[in-house]
């Protein structure tokens, strides 16, 4: 880990938000959030329930329109861009509630994600076999994430943890610059947690990751940078050690346990 940090002599900011805010009918869910997500680093967003973490995700990916502030992705202002466009620009998310295409096989799930970058999405005149050339890349990804055994199973038949892994696999298929993961370990059994954490660490070597997670041991383990949100505002930021020492964070979020 320290080695990868060392290489990163000059951190490159790929996604940044300034003064980000969102109101819902008079209620401010997110307020004045500044965020810089850097290449090849894992950035954690933590905070008590209802702090606005998912909302920040929704704002960054443009599933929600911010009330205030601006967002920049890879140097371009995306404050007013549509969500599918944002995804095409290289910012891809996972959902808090697991999102796969249940009746497609694992391989098909990944291939759907590969289709667009390969320019094979609108061809209604080509046969399905035109997609065969994506197989190799799909299988590679599937293998990389340890899903090879389940390649031809329907996604619906996978265990909870594997569904999350599959979701990450489809996300990676887009080769995104920035990966947003909303509680990737939620509801996952202990043995899967370690596996997924490992995978996240691996993929982060070539891209930026921003994740929401309540499992603090994971955060402590793999995240380079932690931002703590409370009532929509940032109350602390820094590496895990610094943040977890902050008394405000302890009372607002961690309690006496951690």
């Amino acid at each position: 880990m320290s080695a990868s940090l060392a290489i990163q002599a000059e951190p490159r900011v790929v996604l940044s938000a300034r003064g980000l805010g969102r109101d819902f009918a008079g209620f401010t869910a997110v307020n004045d959030v500044d965020l810089d997500v850097e290449h090849a680093r894992i950035h954690a967003l933590i905070g008590p329930n209802g702090a606005g973490k998912t909302t920040v995700f929704n704002l960054l990916t443009k599933f929600l329109q911010p009330t205030r502030g601006s967002i920049t992705l890879l140097g371009q202002d995306i404050t007013h861009t549509r969500p599918d466009k944002v995804a095409r620009m290289g910012l891809v998310r996972s959902f808090q509630i697991s999102a796969v295409f249940p009746h497609l096989t694992v391989r098909e799930n990944v291939k759907v994600a590969l289709q667009r970058p390969a320019g094979l999405a609108v061809q209604f005149w080509l046969p399905l076999s035109a997609l065969d050339r994506l197989d190799a890349r799909a299988d590679h990804l599937i293998g990389q994430l340890g899903l090879a055994r389940w390649r031809d199973h329907r996604a619906a038949d996978l265990s909870y943890g594997r569904k999350r892994v599959l979701e990450i696999a489809t996300t990676l298929a887009l080769d995104p610059e920035v990966l947003l993961l909303d509680e990737p370990m939620a509801g996952m059994g202990q043995e899967d947690v370690a596996m997924v954490a490992g995978i996240i660490r691996d993929v982060a070597t070539e891209r930026a990751v921003l994740m929401v997670e309540h499992n603090l041991s994971v955060v402590a383990d793999i995240c380079h940078h932690v931002t703590v949100l409370q009532r929509g505002e940032i109350i602390a930021a820094g590496d895990y050690a610094a943040v977890s020492a902050d008394p405000r964070v302890r009372t607002a979020y961690m309690g006496s346990e951690a």
Partner: protein, 332 residues
């Protein structure tokens, strides 16, 4: 995990290794049947059946493969019938050009209706298409070129490519059959194409599809326009078969009828709508000369289908052991 794979196996009866060949054979038999059918059956009836089968298949392209229930497909069917009839009768266009105009017109109507309706999903979508098609109905009622209640009558069938005289029933029949087969091939390809794959994934999980960078609205719109255009193809052909275009084809009851056909045959199967259309057309023909009011029967068939045979005749068959052995599979 062992338990899991057991359950997986139990609801997936493996297709017989030769299933593909058997299916090909069945298709060939069906085609051969259609080729000789007019020797035994009444050609006009067969042509009507083919036109409606194509219409239902076009409709099913939307409902079965993108999950969008349009309650306004009569607009494209009937609209195209008017366009074709007008072009052929008033402007003296050739039949193939007339039909192409019908298809293009239906596609444009589909684009407009789709652009408005696609913004909502599920039943909302159904209601909006219904209302918009009702608007189109009133337009047709009043627009001078449709001749209101009278309709466009005595549309000449003309000569296909200036050569083949379509006034001869057999020529007309084989022309309709060709259009039907081409239409089905287009649908089949559309469904089993990269585009179709995206449609499928959108139906499975729309949010996820967006987050993968697909502009879901445009894909849906694409499917909608395609379905409209093919419904238009059926409508244009129908205008030539019957040699008229009337208001009947743009009423909401017609939109309901095509749903019935698809539902009865089996949503999400290629064969279903064809079988369904055959049944409905036969039933209507038969009941017209019987004592029982058609609407009661239609209504009851609808109810029974929804309650008991939701997969439709073909869908139910596919779900049987034999169907699965043959490797048939329904969407959804």
């Amino acid at each position: 995990m062992a338990a899991k794979s057991e359950t997986v196996a139990s609801d997936h009866v493996a297709a017989h290794p030769r299933a593909g060949q058997v299916r090909l054979l069945l298709v060939a038999i069906a085609l051969a049947g259609l080729l000789v059918a007019p020797m035994f059956l009444y050609p006009i009836f067969l042509m009507k059946l083919l036109a409606f089968a194509l219409f239902a298949s076009a409709f099913n392209l939307l409902l079965g493969y993108t999950g969008l229930l349009s309650f306004g497909h009569a607009t494209f069917f009937g609209g195209a019938a008017y366009f074709t009839a007008h072009a052929v009768k008033v402007w003296g266009w050739s039949p193939e050009a007339g039909i192409l105009l019908g298809v293009a017109g239906a596609a444009v109507l589909g684009l407009v209706m789709g652009a408005i309706a696609i913004r909502r999903q599920g039943i909302y979508f159904a209601m909006i298409t219904l209302a918009l098609s009702q608007m189109f109905f009133f337009f047709c009622l009043q627009a001078p070129f449709t001749h209101g209640e009278d309709g466009i009558q005595s549309v000449p069938r003309g000569h296909l490519f200036g050569l083949i005289d379509l006034n001869r029933p057999m020529n007309m029949y084989y022309f309709v059959l060709a259009v039907f087969v081409i239409g089905l091939l287009i649908i089949r390809r559309f469904v089993n194409s990269p585009f179709g794959m995206i449609l499928k994934s959108i139906r499975e999980n729309e949010q996820r599809a967006i987050s993968l960078g697909y502009s879901v609205q445009r894909y849906k719109l694409g499917a909608f326009v395609m379905s409209a255009a093919l419904a238009g193809l059926a409508g244009g052909v129908k205008a030539l078969i019957f040699q008229f275009a009337t208001l009947t084809d743009v009423t909401w009851q017609m939109s309901g009828e095509v749903i019935l056909m698809t539902l009865l045959g089996g949503i999400g199967t290629l064969l279903g709508p064809i079988v369904g259309a055959g049944l409905v057309v036969t039933l209507q023909n038969y009941l017209a000369t019987s004592d029982v009011p058609v609407t009661i029967i239609t209504g009851v068939v609808f109810m029974v289908c929804v309650l008991l045979f939701r997969r439709g005749l073909v869908g139910e068959f596919f779900a049987t052991k034999i169907g699965k052995k043959l490797g048939f599979r329904a969407e959804s």
